[in-house]
Amino acid sequence: MQWWTLFQKELIENVRNIKWIWVPLVMILLAIVDPLTNYFLPQIIDAAGGMPDGTEIQLPEYQPSDVVMMSLGQFNSLGVLVIALMSMGTIAGERKSGVAELILVKPVSYTNYITAKWASLSLLTLTSITLGMIASWYYINLLFGDLSFGALLQVVFFYGLWILLVVSISIFYNTLFKIPGLVAFLTFATVILMGVITSIFAHVLEWSPNNISNYIQQMLVTGSVPSDLIGASLVTLIMIVLLVGGSVFIFKTKDMAE
């Protein structure tokens, strides 16, 4: 009951600061920009003056799965950056400005406070990512080739887990530090570092969450869910639970006045 009230408060706040308008739009833009520029590359080169006579470049033929990867690639870099920047102030900012104290002097449980924030942020990012992938899916069917709606749902489901992990990392740093800029930097740095570690120890860390998008491509090509994707999803889920649990724990033990 209390949780629901806090959750609604978060939703209303995100409507008021128009995150519900701009985050979905940015994600749609990110999802469609690469598929479109790649499809229209010949025309764009022509319009920009064309190639000198006699040059021949072979433009690759893109399969629908390649195009899905283009959208996911944008999400992996700029999308993560947008999520980190957008979520940097959720708790850190409230603590800095004193709003968190105002809420927490009332008998509000810390668990409810954190999980309500996490849930509203997750809902916003998942909705945005889903809308982005639907836009991408629309263009894939229009310009590149068939991709079934079921395949799209699978992509959104597994990629959504990875995005939830990014949100959880951000919430975790939000409870640790008071400075929003630092939270955004650490969130982004952590995701990058995880990617580096995953590629260095590739043969050991087969179930690393960073591999989820690679396995999604594999899934689209073969048409069946690879077992490594299930493994990576499980690891991701466990990490999400640990991060959210850790956030609540840190928030409880940490001195608010500090």
Partner: protein, 73 residues
């Protein structure tokens, strides 16, 4: 002459499917940012500077404003 021909060869209906959604998204971002800028009490830094950023920097301008320009307190 050759260049004019190559431009005419562009399939404009194809191009419209690309440009129109982009323009719509850009327009919504711009309008939302402007309305918010008018209604908000204070921003980080002068308001007129944010107005310039929003209007003159394509797509990125409104996003930068939403992330860095708004003050919640």
């Amino acid at each position: 002459m050759e260049e004019i021909n190559s431009i005419n060869e562009i399939d404009w209906t194809d191009m419209l499917t690309v440009i129109v959604p982009m323009l719509v998204i850009q327009a919504i971002l711009l309008i939302a940012a402007i309305i918010d800028l008018i209604r908000i009490e204070r921003t980080n830094g002068p308001k007129w500077a944010w107005a310039l950023v929003i209007v003159f920097i394509n797509i990125i301008g409104p996003i930068i404003y939403f992330i860095f320009g708004r003050r919640n307190d």
